[in-house]
Amino acid sequence: MGLLSNPSDKQLSPLLLKFVGKQKVLSSLFYIGSIVWFVCLAYRQFNAGTYFSENALLPGLVHSNFKEDFLARQYVAAIKAEAERYPNGMPHAFIAAQFKQLGLDTFTHNFSVKYPLDENEVYSGKNVYGILRASRGASTECLVMSVPYRPPDSVLTGTNAGIAIMLSLAASFRAASYWARDVIFVVTEHEQLGMEAWLEAYHYTSSGSNSIDFGQLDARAGAIQAAINLEIPYEKISHIDVRMEGLNGQLPNLDLVNLVHRLFQQERFTTTLKEREDYPDPLSMEGWIYSASSLLTLMASQATGVPTGNHGLFHRFGIEALTVAGSYKRGWHGSNFLLMGRAIEGIMRSLNNLQERFHQSFFFYLLPATNRYVSIGVYMPPFGLMIGSMLLQAVALYISRKENPNEKQNWNFLNLGSFVLYSTICGLLFYSAPEKLTRFNRSMALGLSTEDVVFGGFCMLSVIHCILTSTVGVRMLSIQRLSANCVQCAILLLTSTLMYAVAMGNISLAVLTCFIISPVFSIAKPVSQRFLKYCRYAVLMLVHPLSLLFIATLIDTYRVFPEEINQPWKFFGKTHIAAQRALIYAVVDGTFYGNWLFFAVSTLYLPLWSLAWANLGNLSR
C-alpha cells in the first residue's frame, strides 16, 4: 500500500524528473516510434494468419447441392427485360411474384424518407422480402441474404445477377431439409436507405433521428444472426471483394470474414481486400509496401465511418454482416453461376450450423491482406504509444508548473470552465447550422443550392468563430490568468481522452486523427517571435475541421482522377464540389443512420481546436 500511504511531500523521484526533462525528445520518439510500429504491423512477420475460432462453422465440410445455375441464367434475362420497363424504379411486383412462385412467405415493405435538410422533400420506396421458413426451427432465429436493387439508370454497377443468384439459391434452399433457421431474402430499393428502413422496421426502432418513416413489416422471423449482402453485376466473375467496413467504422466478426474468403477461394474465385489481391511474395520489401498500402486504404475507408455497402447498417443492431461484391478483370479466370451459388450456399450452410451468435474471434482488428490480421492486442500498443506521446507532454507540463513559480499564473483547470462552455455552445451551433442555413435559404428565397448554402455558411461561420475565439476567447483565458502551459496540458489531456474513446469504436479514425493533430496540438502555445507565431496559426488552421475535409477530398480526388492534376483550376473545382457533397453527406448520414462523425467533429473536436487557437494568443505565458 505504499502507493496510497507514502506520506512524503517532497515527492518526485530524481529519475522521474530526469524523464520529464527529456520529455521533448521522448515524446517525439514516442510519436515517430508509434508510426514506424504501425507501418511494421503490415509486414508479414508482425501480424498473424487468420484462422477459424468458431468450430461450429465447419466451413466447406458439406456436400454442395446447388445445381440451379440454369435457373439463375433465366432469372438474369427475365430481370433484365423487366428492369427496362422501369428505368428509374424497381419492379416490385415482378420480384415479389418470383418469390411467391418459389413458395416463400413474400411481403412488400413500404417506407418513406424525409430529406433532413428540407422537410418538403419526401421520397418513398418499397422493399420486397421473402421468408423461407425453416423446417427444423421455430422461427426464433434467421439469416438474411440481401441485394440492393439498382435500376438501369443508376450510375453504380448493376446487381441483377445478384438477384438472380439469390432467387436460384432460394429455389435450391426450398428443397433442403436441413435449415435450422429461417432465411430472409431481401431486395431493397434506394441503396442504404431501403436497407436502413427495413432494419428499423424489423427491429421497430429508429437509430437516426426519425427522418425515416420505416412503416410496418407484416412478418418477421426472429433474431437475425448474420447477413450477407450480394452485389454481383454479371455472371462471369473473377474477383470477389469482401467489404466489411460498417457504420461508424464497426467491423463484423473476423470469423465471418474468414468464412467468406475461405469458401469463395475454395470455388476458385480470387478474393480481394479493398479490391487489391494479395501480393504473391509478402516477405519481400515490395510485399511489405503493398500490404501497408492495403492496410492504409482499409483504414482510410473505415475512418470515414461510412458503410461500404448495405451490410454496414446491420452492425449497429449487433448483427454480423458483410458485402460480397463481384467483378471481372480481364485476363483472369472467370467463374459461372454454378460456382458462385455453391460458394454462397456453403456460407449460408455454415451460418446455419452456428450454435450461438458470433462471439469467438475478433470484433476489433485490421487486415493488411485477405489472410492476415492485426488484432486489437497488437495494434493497441503502438496506438498507446501515440497517445503516450501526448500524455507525456501533459504530465511534463503539469510537473514543471512548480519550477518557475509565478504568482500571476493560474494552474486551476476549473477556470477553463467558462471557455469550455463557450466553445461547446459554438460547437452546438455548428452542429445545428445546416438545418438552420437551409431553412434560411428557403425562407429568404435565395435560390442557392443546398451544397452552396451549407458549405458557404460553414466557411463564414468558421471565420466568425475564429475571430471570436481569438478576441473574446483569448480574453476569457487572460482574465483568469490561466497559464498557457495549463491550457496546453488540458488540451493534450482532453485530446488523448477523446482519441482513446474514439479508438474504442473506430481505431482507424483515432490513429489517423492522432497522427495529424498530435504534433500540431503539442505546439499550441504562444511564442514571442512574431514569425513563428504566424507559422503556428497557419499550421493550426490546417487542422481546422473544414481544412481537414478539404485536404481529405483533395487526396481522394487525386486518387480518382490523377490525370487532372495538370489542370489545377478544374481539379480544384472538382475538389470543391466533392468537399461540399462530403459535408452534406456527413450531415445527412448523421440524421439518417446515426453516423456520429459530424456530431463528434462539431461538438468535441471543434471546441478542442478553438481552445488551441485561443491558447496561441494567450497573454499570460
Partner: protein, 426 residues
C-alpha cells in the same frame, strides 16, 4: 456574492435546457445514473400499482420505502413541467443547504485552529486558515454542486437520489448546527430511504457530544435516532398494512438480488459468484463500508466535517447500488479541503481517471450491449478504475489532513541537521 448567482443561474439553465432538449429519456436509461433503487421509471410503476390498490412490494420492481411512495404519489400528480421544476428546485435547495453546512463547518475548523494555536509550531501561521477564506469556500461548494456534471445528469434523469441528497445535506447542516434532534430526525429519513447513511450516526454523536456527560449524550443521540426510525417504520407499516416492504427495500439493499450493472463493485462480482458462496460474500461486501467507521471516528474525532465527508464518500464507493448522483454529492464537498490541496499526491492522476472513465463507460456500455462487439469485462474495467480513483481521492484527503496536522505541530520545514527530511509513516 455575484459569482454565486452566476453559478446558480447557469446550473438551473443547464438543467432546464437538458430537460427541454429531451435528454431526460436517454439519461434516465443510463445504468450509471439510474439504479434499481433510484430510477424514476420504477417510482412511476410503484405509484401506479399503489393507485390500483395493489401492493407494489409484491413484485420485484419497486424498492423505495412506503414513506417515499406517499411522497412520490403526490409528486406524480403534478404536471410534468412542474415536476421538472421540483427536481431542479430540490437540487438548488441542496446546494444552498450544503453551502450553509460547509460555512458552519469551516467556521468550526477555523475556530478550532485558533483554540489550539498554542500547541502549534511557530511556523504554522503560514498554513493556518484565515477568516477571509471562510466566505469563499462555501461559494465553491454551491458551484461544485450545481455545476457538477454528475449531479446535473442525476437531476435530469429524475433519480430519487436528488431527494436522498437533499435529506443528506440537511443532515449535515443539522450536524453542523449541533442540533441533536434535527440531525437524528434527518438522518432517520436518510437511512430510511437508502440505509447506508446509518453510519453517520457516529459523527452526529461526536458533534453533539458534551465533554462532561459523554455516555448520556451518546445514548440520547442513538435513542432519538432509533425513535425516529421506529416512527418512520411504523408509518410505513400503517400505510401499506404489512411488513412486506422491509424485504423489498432493505432486503434489496442488503441482499443485492438485482445484478443490473452499475458503477459499483457488487454486480460483476456477484454474477460470477457460485451460489453457495453468495451469502458469505454478501456479508463480506456489506460489512466492508461499515468496518471503516470506528477507526476513522477514533482517528478524526476532532474533525467532524472530515469524518462525515469520508463516510459519505465510503457510502458512495462501497454501497450496493451506487449511482453518480452519490459520487457527485461528496465531490461537491471537496472545496472544504481546499487548504489541503498542496498535500495531495494523486490529484492529477485521480482527475485523469475520473475524466477517462466518465467518457469511456457509456461507450463501452454501447459496445457491449448494443453492438455486441465488446463484453462485460470492458465495462467492468471502467467501473473498477472509477472506484479505484475514488479510493485514491479519499485516501489522499485523509493523508493530506494527517500531513497538515503534522505540519501544524512541527512546522513546515522538515530540515533535520540541515538536510531535507522526509515524512515516513510508521
Amino acid at each position: 456574492m455575484p459569482s454565486l448567482w452566476k453559478s446558480n443561474a447557469l446550473g438551473v439553465i443547464i438543467r432546464a435546457w437538458l430537460f427541454n432538449s429531451g435528454f431526460h429519456d436517454s439519461l434516465s436509461d443510463r445504468v450509471e445514473i439510474s439504479t434499481p433503487l433510484n430510477s424514476w421509471k420504477r417510482v412511476i410503476e410503484g405509484a401506479y400499482l399503489r393507485q390500483r390498490s395493489q401492493s407494489p412490494y409484491e413484485g420485484d420492481v419497486f424498492h423505495e420505502t412506503p414513506t417515499g411512495l406517499v411522497f412520490y404519489t403526490y409528486l406524480l400528480k403534478l404536471n410534468f413541467n412542474v415536476l421538472q421544476a421540483v427536481f431542479i428546485l430540490c437540487d438548488v435547495l441542496t446546494a444552498f443547504v450544503l453551502t450553509e453546512a460547509t460555512r458552519i463547518f469551516f467556521q468550526d475548523i477555523v475556530k478550532d485552529q485558533q483554540n489550539k494555536k498554542k500547541t502549534y509550531h511557530k511556523d504554522a501561521k503560514k498554513i493556518t486558515l484565515k477568516k477571509e477564506e471562510v466566505a469563499k469556500v462555501p461559494q465553491y461548494v454551491t458551484a461544485a454542486y450545481l455545476l457538477n456534471p454528475y449531479i446535473v445528469c442525476s437531476c435530469v434523469a429524475m433519480t430519487t437520489t436528488v431527494f436522498a441528497n437533499l435529506i443528506l445535506s440537511l443532515t449535515l447542516l443539522a450536524m453542523a448546527k449541533k442540533s441533536r434532534l434535527l440531525s437524528t430526525c434527518c438522518l432517520a429519513f436518510a437511512s430510511h430511504q437508502s440505509f447506508y447513511p446509518v453510519m453517520l450516526v457516529v459523527p452526529i454523536a461526536i458533534a453533539t457530544a458534551k465533554e462532561k456527560q459523554l455516555f448520556k449524550s451518546v445514548f440520547l443521540t442513538i435513542s432519538s435516532f432509533a425513535l425516529f426510525t421506529a416512527l418512520l417504520l411504523g408509518f410505513s407499516y400503517h400505510s401499506t398494512g404489512s411488513w412486506r416492504f422491509i424485504e423489498s427495500t432493505y432486503g434489496c439493499i442488503l441482499k443485492v438480488p438485482d445484478l443490473t450493472p452499475n458503477i459499483g463493485l457488487f454486480w460483476y462480482f456477484f454474477t460470477e459468484m457460485f451460489d453457495h458462496f453468495y451469502l458469505f460474500f454478501t456479508y463480506v461486501f456489506q460489512l466492508n463500508p461499515f468496518i471503516y467507521v470506528i477507526p476513522l471516528a477514533i482517528r478524526f474525532d476532532d474533525n467532524v466535517p472530515l469524518l462525515s465527508f469520508t463516510l459519505c464518500a465510503i457510502m458512495a464507493i462501497f454501497k450496493s447500488y451506487p449511482s453518480i448522483g452519490d459520487v457527485g454529492f461528496y465531490l461537491a464537498l471537496l472545496p472544504l479541503w481546499n487548504h489541503l490541496v498542496p498535500y495531495f499526491r494523486h490529484s492529477f492522476i485521480v482527475g485523469c481517471i475520473f475524466l477517462v472513465t466518465s467518457v469511456l463507460s457509456p461507450i463501452l456500455w454501447y459496445l457491449w450491449i448494443y453492438t455486441g462487439s465488446a463484453n462485460a469485462n470492458f465495462f467492468f474495467a471502467t467501473t473498477l478504475a472509477f472506484a479505484t480513483a475514488q479510493i485514491f481521492l479519499l485516501t489522499d484527503v485523509l493523508f493530506a489532513q494527517a500531513k497538515y496536522d503534522y505540519h501544524l505541530k512541527h512546522g513546515i520545514d522538515l530540515k533535520i541537521n540541515g538536510k531535507e527530511g522526509m515524512l515516513v509513516l510508521e
